[in-house]
Amino acid sequence: MVRFTLDDQEIVVPEGITVLEAARRSGIFIPTLCDDSRLEPFGGCRLCVVQVQGIPRLVTACTTPVAEGMRVQSTNEEIERRRRTIVELILSDHPNDCMVCEKAGDCNLQELAYFYDLRTNRFYGQRSQRLVKDQNPFIERDMEKCILCGKCVRACYDIQGVGAIDFTSRGFTAKIAPPFEKDLDCEFCGQCVSVCPTGALMSKQSLGKGRQKDVQEVDTICPYCGCGCNLTLHVSRNEVVRVTSRPDTINEGWLCVKGRFGYSFINSPDRLKTPLIKKDGKFAEATWEETFDYVATRLGAIKSKHGPDAIGGLSSARCSNEENYLFQKFMRAAIGTNNVDHCARL
């Protein structure tokens, strides 16, 4: 353990953690746009600058490990002035169209602009030309809003192991782009969307379906595979408009393309809502009572005529463990066969 002083408060934290992490654990707020505790520190946005006694320059809390006896000041007039300039500089290269921005109300940059009361900006000038029209099916890339925090790149390389995008060019012309600045062509896991602090990366399916303040969040488990990732459904007007995942869960907030974007079946007109029974060569809607009766009668008939092993059961990986348990119990105890399997093995 390491003992150090943060804003005149003595704190004991495990060795090796950063000043930013220590501040978070002690409930001290330090602004940042490029840090994510699940990703490697980057030190690019410079908003988390703090003063460390004995170092003339400000240092970033996200990259500085705590050391025994260190004295850190997380805020004072100078620090806040410099942070304010940084936000001002970002806004001088930003569309500032919060009124129509999808991300409004859920945007870290907007929060900071509010926090520093940036009604006017001392800086103006050329804006970096990063407008991107990308025809990919899932991810809206409005790179004018990109602040180059690099979280998407780190998530893509380090979490997903894909590397579909990277920093390109340098200086003011730097941007984040797929190779040769073509349309994004990747797994579309959407980790990049989930970490973007601004409205630069958004889900195409969610556009115009309601901003964050209007949605109701419902936590659930992903129905697709046996991993059991935690999902948070964002529901607006009784419709799921977006799927996210909380970082403090078993899957640390990371999802795959199906979990994040594969929810359109919920409101699909093709979705089956009642059981169908084939009558005269055609499927017809039936009630659950009818269906259960029909299934029980037919299974009973087959069992008595051909024996239980004439029946096999296939369950689904999209069912929960409990459901699958019940199903195999049903096959073994009620039908009397071991012919049971499920789709994940196929």
Binding site: G43, R46, L58, P65, L148, R170, G171
Partner: protein, 601 residues
């Protein structure tokens, strides 16, 4: 019977550009020709040598005979025959082609410590270096000194990093030595990117073996098995000579396995830079050697703790490393005998700009700027007035003429608002606009910013835009204060040295030349007559001879007129490039300030 005659021909990049190769082959041809007596031929040997600093006089040729040296300047191939006939064969130097007094004053106040062998020997010949004591220091170090002895000796010498920051070299080596682990690296930073600096290029071109020997001693001291030289691809000749030198060092057993039978293994690899100034920054350089985008990362951990491939790594600049063998050979006392209390030894500077004698110089720390500019540099070109000296490149600042007594050392230059830096020294005269100079450097840093951190990426752009509006007549009251505020914020919050120092040219020019900023903003004029928005070019009819010279050089076709009749400049088409102004032999083209002030050349 004549003694042995050595002919040294300057063949650095400057010498070659001036035709050094042709001069060399002219000597070889002349010496081979039938007219020269065999006895003379036998004793004459022509060598190419590295830069001796005074490139403006190239091609420079030394004729050394019985210890006496005659130096010729501005030698062209067609002059060689006469030198061979009259001097080499006849024993009579060709007086009118010999260097003049100013060549000697140029060297008068210089001290050649690290450049001692530069320009005196063939850089492509390890024997020439060994013949002048080369590799003695390495041999001594490897066979009879403990690594800690070397570090202590360096610490005693007071050698500080010559790349810019001035960190004590011995301390850096000690840090790396004390890090646990078997694998360590030493890197020579030859990514000399400062515009207006060519110390490292000249050193590698003129004496590559000194750099190699310095790296070898360093590797032994810190316990590294592998070294890299990260060198700019824009320096093809330096790369070529370094590669030759590395091959020779391997052949002679100074690199490779079991060096000189000491059991110590060490080898050096050359890594070519791919064109990014920011790669001069340690962590960016490491990223680049590893094959990544040269984006710096936060320190700590320092490279000495976690550097290349995560291993302890020492990164030293070319000049720093080239000093090491001389210090180890001649002793720390010899080295510490030069310089000031805190800045020991000598420093190589690239003296350029509006100076009469521009070139590469080596001076002891503590010399005054005045001595450098007026004694060594011979004053300002065209007898114009000195305005300022820009030191330290884009990370440095401008020191005004009134502070020419400033001692050249790390601390004094810092307190004057500039830095020693890697050693660029650009002299500016009254025809240079200081706002424009600041703008030039910001243009540079803006386009060399890696883009990783916001203050540098967006901040340098905004600084440049404010400077651009000032120089184009759109400056507003309050702009100077805004520049200062933004500069401070960038300096304090940027990630790496590039951003942290990028505002220095702005701050130092505001500090000493605020009146020029005010003239642009308030009086709407450029006192030096440089900023295009404040000037116009016109032809004075009574002076114009109608020679058409200006018409030919005008890139925009703005000059109209017939032969032998006065020309006229069409102002709407004129791009104010000044080509006509520079070309006119009759001073007919005049630069006119927007408010009527007339500048003549």
């Amino acid at each position: 019977m004549p003694g042995d005659i050595t002919i040294n021909i300057c063949m650095g990049t400057g010498g070659i550009a001036a035709g050094g190769e042709a001069v060399m082959s002219a000597f070889e041809d002349a010496l081979a020709s039938a007219d020269i007596a065999a006895s003379v031929k036998k004793h004459c040997a022509a060598h190419k040598v590295g830069c001796r600093g005074f490139c403006a006089r190239d091609v420079l040729v030394d004729v050394i005979e019985n210890g006496g040296k005659h130096t010729y300047e501005y030698i062209k191939p067609d002059m060689v025959k006469r030198i061979v006939e009259e001097h080499l064969a006849g024993g009579q130097p060709v007086q009118e082609w010999l260097v003049k007094e100013d060549y000697h004053t140029f060297h008068g106040k210089q001290v050649r410590a690290v450049l001692a062998d530069c320009g005196e020997m063939d850089p492509e010949d390890i024997e020439a270096y060994a013949g002048r004591g080369g590799y003695e220091a390495a041999l001594k170090s490897l066979t009879s000194l403990a690594p800690t002895d070397i570090i202590e000796e360096l610490k005693r010498s007071g050698l500080r990093g010559r790349g810019g920051a001035g960190f004590p070299t011995g301390l850096k080596w000690e840090m790396a030595r004390n890090e646990p682990g078997d694998t360590k690296y030493i890197i020579c930073n030859a990514d000399e990117g400062d515009p207006g600096a060519f110390m490292d290029r000249s050193l590698v071109e003129g004496n590559p073996h000194a750099v190699i020997e310095g790296m070898l001693i360093g590797a032994y001291a810190i316990g590294a098995q592998r070294g890299y030289v990260y060198i700019r691809a824009e320096y093809p000749l330096a790369v070529q000579r370094l590669t030759i030198a590395l091959g020779q060092a391997r052949e002679r057993g100074f690199l490779g396995r079991n060096i000189q039978n000491t059991g110590f293994d060490f080898d050096i690899k050359v890594k070519l830079g791919a064109g990014a100034f920011v790669c001069g920054e340690e962590t960016a350089l490491i990223a680049s050697i590893e094959g990544n985008r040269g984006m710096p990362r936060a320190k700590p951990p320092f490279p000495a703790q976690k550097g290349l491939w995560g291993k302890p790594t020492v990164i030293n600049n070319v000049e720093t490393l080239a000093n090491v063998p001389y210090i180890m050979r001649k002793g720390s006392g010899w080295f510490a005998g030069f310089g000031t209390e805190k800045s020991k030894g000598t420093k190589v500077f690239a003296l350029t700009g509006k100076i009469r004698n521009s070139g590469l110089i080596e001076v002891p720390f503590g010399i005054s700027l005045r001595e450098i500019i007026f004694d060594i540099g011979g004053g300002i070109e065209g007898d114009r007035k000195l305005k300022a000296v820009q030191t330290g490149g884009p990370s440095g600042g401008c020191i005004p003429a009134s502070l020419m007594e400033t001692s050249v050392d790390y601390e004094s230059l810092a307190s004057a608002g500039s830095i020693v830096g890697s050693g660029g020294m650009v002299v500016l005269d009254e025809t240079d606009c200081m706002v424009n100079v600041a703008k030039y450097f910001l243009e540079f840093t803006k386009s060399e910013s890696c883009g990783k951190c916001i203050p540098c990426r967006v901040g340098t752009m905004r600084l440049l835009e404010i400077l651009t509006r000032i120089t184009s007549g759109k400056g507003r009251p309050g702009d100077v204060e805004l520049l200062q505020e933004l500069s401070e914020d960038i300096k304090m919050t940027s990630l790496c040295g590039l951003g942290q120092t990028a505002p220095n040219p702005v701050l130092s020019t505001i500090r000493y030349f605020k009146d020029e900023y005010d003239a642009h903003i308030i009086e709407r004029r450029c006192p030096a007559g440089v900023c295009k928005s404040f000037i116009a070019f016109t032809v004075l009819e009574e002076f114009c001879k109608g020679c058409m010279a200006c018409v030919r050089v005008c890139p925009s076709g703005a000059i109209v007129g017939e032969k032998k009749k006065p020309h006229r400049i069409v102002q709407d088409v004129c791009i104010k490039c000044g080509a006509c102004f520079a070309t006119c032999k009759f001073q007919a083209v005049r630069k006119r300030a927007v408010y009527g002030e007339i500048h003549t050349r």
